[in-house]
Symmetry: C2
Subunit: 207 residues, 2 copies
DNA sequence: GCCTCCATAGGGTATTCACCCTAATTGAGG
DNA sequence: CCTCAATTAGGGTGAATACCCTATGGAGGC
């Protein structure tokens, strides 16, 4: 029998996670908490087999909870459960040595599979993660100039606009544009925007 | 002396709202709550001059809290405080007769101005609201076919792709494209994406 | 010194897009 | 029956973009 601690600041999600896991014979939920501070208290108290952790929570960030959990309860397997698909913060979490990662749009089957994998000392990472991190890396490989041009393309500027803004020739902008689209594997402005949002290059709210 | 009730599920935001308002001589915070249910209980108990309300909360949606507040405490002025800029839900809130609306990226000066305006029986709506609602209306005026074409453009398809998909000629797609861009006042795919996200036509996470 | 990467700029061509126009068909509503 | 909006399709033009290529100057690494 494995023990599970749920940490998510959304009551609705905590409840649906409970509903998913309670029918299972091999897992038992010891507690659910709504913020990072309570999560750490509960980890120290229960030392659960698995910590199901939302990254975005009040009082303590995901990475802080992960580090302290590893210190106080090293046997606890940590599964990150996130709605954010921005690459930058994800890379940090993965480097910190978590055991699994799920995106919030995955179904209960994937969640249960993740739980069983980590309790058997395997890791479980969402299939989408590799593509997110690949795109994250690709954006990181853009040169400064290419990033500047990308920003302007996303802002709806034409090559001529960008050339005037940066005081370079239209053909130079065209070259930067071609190279950055190759690097990102994009074939349209829509592709660029999708990648830019997924990787956290730009934030949807600032559009 | 006016009384203020704060309702927001994020502890951090509640605290920062408190910090903003406590130095003011003409306002006093009677309570802050973290969900819609507690908000209604507090409204009935305190009958505050102003309700500062986040739309996205557990247990009761913003519109429910607004309607019940108007029933149980009609003298209470309601200021909506939202991070969501999607037009559809906003229109419903405005129609329900709230007194003010702020987006979460506005600063404390605007918040204080909104409080003073509504307590003097004026209304206060964020400047961005009009553009959001205008774009919302524009998207609503698109025909079904135009919406289909818009979706495909946003997905990165070319006119040729869309023509094949919908079994119509490229010129027809071109016509739909031209008309929808006119209706939305867009001049680039980036403009389309920005409007589509702002109006809730597509959700950033599904990109 | 040599080599690589970056930014710069241009040639050339094919495709795509933006924006103007007309026009036939269809279906819903007055 | 007539009208209007929507959908369909096309003509035509100019701009913008995608993708191929070469080439030069400078900065940094070895």
């Amino acid at each position: 029998m494995h023990t599970v601690l749920i940490a998510d600041d959304h009551t609705l999600i905590r409840e649906s996670l409970r509903n998913m896991l309670e029918p299972l014979d091999d897992f038992s939920i010891v507690a659910d908490v709504a913020n990072g501070f309570d999560a750490l208290v509960a980890v120290k108290k229960w030392k659960p087999s698995v910590l199901l952790l939302d990254v975005a929570m009040p009082d303590a960030t995901g990475i802080e909870v992960v580090v302290d959990t590893q210190r106080w309860s090293p046997q606890t397997k940590i599964i990150i459960y996130t709605g954010v698909t921005s690459g930058a913060p994800l890379q940090q979490l993965i480097d910190s040595g978590i055991h699994g990662l799920l995106f919030k749009d995955s179904d209960s089957a994937h969640l249960i599979k993740a739980l069983r994998e980590v309790t058997h000392n395997h890791s479980y990472f969402d299939d989408k993660l590799s593509s997110v991190l690949a795109e994250q890396e690709a954006v990181g490989n853009l040169t400064e100039r290419e990033k500047q041009v990308l920003s302007q393309i996303l802002a709806g500027k034409t090559n001529r606009d960008i050339a005037l803004l940066l005081n370079i020739s239209i053909k130079t902008v065209d070259n930067h544009r071609t190279r950055l689209m190759n690097k990102l594997g994009a074939h349209s402005v829509s592709d660029l925007l999708r990648i830019a949002i997924k990787t956290g290059f730009i934030h949807p709210d600032t559009l």
